[in-house]
C-alpha cells in the first residue's frame, strides 16, 4: 500500500481523491500495489467523505514517513511554497497543478528536489489534462526546440469563440462565461493574460533551460479587443486567438509573451474553440506537433496529477539534473521578434503605405485595417508612431 497526502480540498484536490478511488484498479495494476490517500490538509474541517483523513497541521504530513508523495493543490505562492519546500526537504515527492508557484519558484524547487533525489512534477500546470510538458521533456528530447505556442487559457478562448460566433461584445461574453462556470467571479488573471503568461513561462523554462521570470514577460489579455477587429479578421480569413508564445531567437536566447494574434483559418489552431486548449511545439527534427484537449476541469487536471504521482513512484529521480536553472539568462525582449502585424487605424490606405510601405488591405471605410510585411515589434511601434492606431496585433503563420 502506497500512501499519499493532498494539500487543499478544492476542485483539484477533490478530483485527485476521486481519481485515486475511481481508477484504483488501473492504478494498482501499473504500480504493483494499491494507492491510498492517507491525509488531506485543510484550513477548516468540514463534513464529507474525507472527514476522517483531514488535518489542519502540515507537520503531521511532513513527519509521516509512510507518506511518499504530497499533491499540492492549494494554489498561489505563500503556503503552497512553504509546504512544498518542507515536503521536498522531508524527502517526499511533490506533485502540483500550481502554475503560479512553478512559474515563480520552479527553478529553486527543482534544484531542491534534485538535491533531495525526489521528484517535483507539474504536468497539470499547463494544459490541465492534456499531456504537454512530459512529451516535450521525454518524447521530443532529441530535438532542439525552436518554438512553442498555444491557446493556454480556456476562459478567454470561450469568450473569443462567443464573440466570433454570436457577435457578442466582450463584457457580455464574459458574463456568459461566468454564468456557465467557465470564468471566476474575479476573472482578472484569465482575461488579462496572466494565467496564460505563467504557463508560457513554464513552457519557456522547459524548452530553453533557463528560468524566464513572469515579470519580464509582456502579457496582454483580451480586455482591449474590439468586436470590429474580430469581424474584420473573420471576413479576411483569420481568427483572433489569445496565444502564449516562446521562441528561440536567431542571436541566441529566447523570448516569450502573451497577446491576441490573428491566425489563418486553415491553421489547425484556428478551429480550437470554446474551453479547449492547444499547444504546438516546433522541434528542429520532428517539425510541428500539436496537443489538444480540455485544458481545465476537475477530473482532467486531477488525472494529470495522479499520473505524475505514479511517475514519481515508478521512475528514479537520482540521476536527474534540474530541468532548468535559476539564472534567468538569455531572455530577449519580444520587440525583437519579426512577424506580420495587423493594424486598424483612423486614416487612409495612403497613411498606412506611407508608414509601412507595402501593406495588404483588409478593410477600408474611414478606418483602414491592413497587414504589414514581417517586421520587428520595435519597427511596428516606431513606424506607426505618426498614425492614429486603433488596434495592433501580431499575425501567426
Amino acid at each position: 500500500m502506497i500512501k499519499i497526502a493532498i494539500l487543499g480540498l478544492g476542485t483539484v484536490g477533490t478530483g485527485v481523491a476521486r481519481v485515486v478511488a475511481d481508477n484504483a484498479r488501473q492504478i494498482e495494476r501499473k504500480l504493483g500495489e494499491p494507492l491510498q490517500v492517507k491525509s488531506v490538509l485543510v484550513r477548516r474541517f468540514k463534513d464529507g467523505p474525507y472527514r476522517q483523513l483531514m488535518t489542519d497541521d502540515f507537520s503531521r504530513i511532513e513527519n509521516d514517513p509512510e507518506i511518499r508523495v504530497v499533491v499540492e493543490t492549494i494554489g498561489g505562492v505563500e503556503a503552497a511554497y512553504e509546504y512544498t519546500k518542507r515536503a521536498l526537504e522531508a524527502g517526499k515527492h511533490v506533485v502540483t497543478a500550481n502554475k503560479q508557484l512553478v512559474a515563480e519558484k520552479g527553478a529553486e524547487l527543482l534544484a531542491l528536489a534534485a538535491r533531495k533525489k525526489v521528484h517535483y512534477l507539474f504536468e497539470a500546470s499547463v494544459g490541465g489534462g492534456i499531456p504537454v510538458l512530459h512529451p516535450i521533456r521525454e518524447c521530443l528530447a532529441a530535438n532542439r526546440i525552436e518554438e512553442i505556442y498555444g491557446i493556454l487559457n480556456g476562459t478567454t478562448n470561450y469568450i473569443l469563440t462567443r464573440m466570433v460566433r454570436t457577435g457578442a461584445f466582450f463584457t457580455d461574453a464574459l458574463r456568459e462565461a461566468q454564468a456557465k462556470g467557465y470564468a471566476e467571479a474575479d476573472p482578472t488573471a484569465d482575461v488579462q493574460g496572466i494565467d496564460a503568461g505563467r504557463k508560457t513561462c513554464i513552457l519557456a523554462d522547459l524548452a530553453f533551460g533557463h528560468e524566464v521570470p513572469p515579470e519580464k514577460v509582456p502579457m496582454e489579455g483580451i480586455t482591449k479587443l474590439s468586436l470590429r477587429d474580430v469581424k474584420i479578421a473573420e471576413r479576411a480569413g483569420y481568427r483572433i486567438k489569445l496565444l502564449g508564445r516562446t521562441v528561440r531567437m536567431p542571436g541566441g536566447g529566447c523570448t516569450a509573451y502573451v497577446a491576441p494574434h490573428l491566425i489563418p483559418e486553415e491553421h489547425p489552431m484556428a478551429n480550437v474553440e470554446d474551453v479547449f486548449n492547444a499547444v504546438a511545439v516546433r522541434g528542429n527534427a520532428t517539425g510541428e506537433v500539436m496537443f489538444y484537449g480540455k485544458g481545465a476541469g476537475e477530473l482532467p487536471t486531477a488525472s494529470a496529477c495522479v499520473s505524475d504521482v505514479m511517475e514519481a513512484l515508478t521512475t528514479s529521480a537520482s540521476r536527474e539534473e534540474p530541468l532548468w536553472s535559476a539564472d534567468g539568462e538569455g531572455f530577449v525582449d519580444p520587440d525583437e521578434l519579426h512577424t506580420r502585424f495587423y493594424f486598424r487605424i483612423e486614416g487612409s490606405l495612403t497613411d498606412a503605405a506611407m508608414a509601412f510601405g507595402q501593406v495588404e488591405v483588409l478593410s477600408e471605410d474611414g478606418e483602414t485595417a491592413f497587414l504589414t510585411e514581417r517586421i520587428s515589434g520595435t519597427d511596428a511601434r516606431q513606424q506607426s508612431a505618426m498614425l492614429n492606431v486603433l488596434a495592433c496585433m501580431r499575425v501567426m503563420n
Copy 2:
C-alpha cells in the same frame, strides 16, 4: 561516451544517424555524456559518411559490450525479429519504428525485455514523430482508457484530401501521391488499411493490456471509396477519413478495426489534411485529448527513435511489467459496436425506411444516401440484406 548501433540504413536509419549528429549538444546536455553511433548493420557495403561504421555481421554488434542500445530500422518481421531477440538477450535496449514487428511480436519481445531488465521502445511506430504511445502510457496512466481512434496513415489521408479538394478520382490521387513521394511504388499496405491496422493493434495492446493480433482486426482501406460518397458527405457537412479505432466494450474486452468513416466537419479531426496524422484518446478522467502532427518522414520518425534511446538510457527498466500480455484475451468483433451508419443504395427513401425505420436523408436522385440511427454492425448488415447497397460506412461522432 555512450555507444549505440543502427540496424539498416534506409530512410529512418539514416535519419537516426543525422539526428544524433545534428542535435549532439542537446542530447549530451540531457544524457550527461555524448551519444555516438558506433556500428551500422547493412546488407551491402556502400560509400558515404557512415562507411567506416558499417558491418554486415550482426554478431559483432551483439557481442560488443560497449553498445548499449540497438536501433532496429530494418522493417518487416524476419531479420528484424531475430536481431531484436538476440540484442535483448544480450542485455541491450532495443528501439524501433517497426510497427509490423511490434504489432505481431510485441508481447513476446516485451516479455523478453522485461526478463532481461532492458527496454523495448517503439514510440516511432505510431504517429512517426508525434508523441502518442509515451503520453498514453505515462501521462494518462491514471485513466481508464475508453477509446483511441485516429488518422494513422499519411498516404491515405493525402489521397482523401486530394479527392475532397480537387475532385480527383482515387487512382489519380494515388498517382499524384506517388509522384510526390508520399506513396510507395507498391502502395498496398497503405491503401488497403494494413499499415493503419498494425498501428491500431499497437494502440489497442497498450490501452487494454492484451495483445490484439492483426489477423483478428478487420482492415478496410480506401480502394473501394467512391468520389460520389466523398461529395455527398461533403455537401451534408461531413468529411470522409480512414480511421483506425479501438474501443473498450460495455460487456468487457475491446474491439478494433480500420475503415473509412464519415466525420462531422466541426470535429477537430475533420480538418486534419494532407500527410498529417492525428490520434485522439478518450480517458474516463481526462476526457478526449488529441495529438497532431506529421506522421512520417525521415527526421520526425528518427527523432522519436533517438528520444526513445535517451529514455532507455535514463530510466530504469528493472521494475517494469510488460505493457501487454500475449494471451490475446477479450477481443470482441467490431460488428458488436454501435454507431450511426452511412448507406448509399440503389433504391428509394421508402426502401431505406422499410429496412431501417427512421433515417436521415443526405441525397436522393435514383440512388438514396442516408444515415441510420445508432445500430450494431451486425444489424447494419442484416437490415440492409434486402437492399442494393452501393456504399456503407460508419459515422464517427
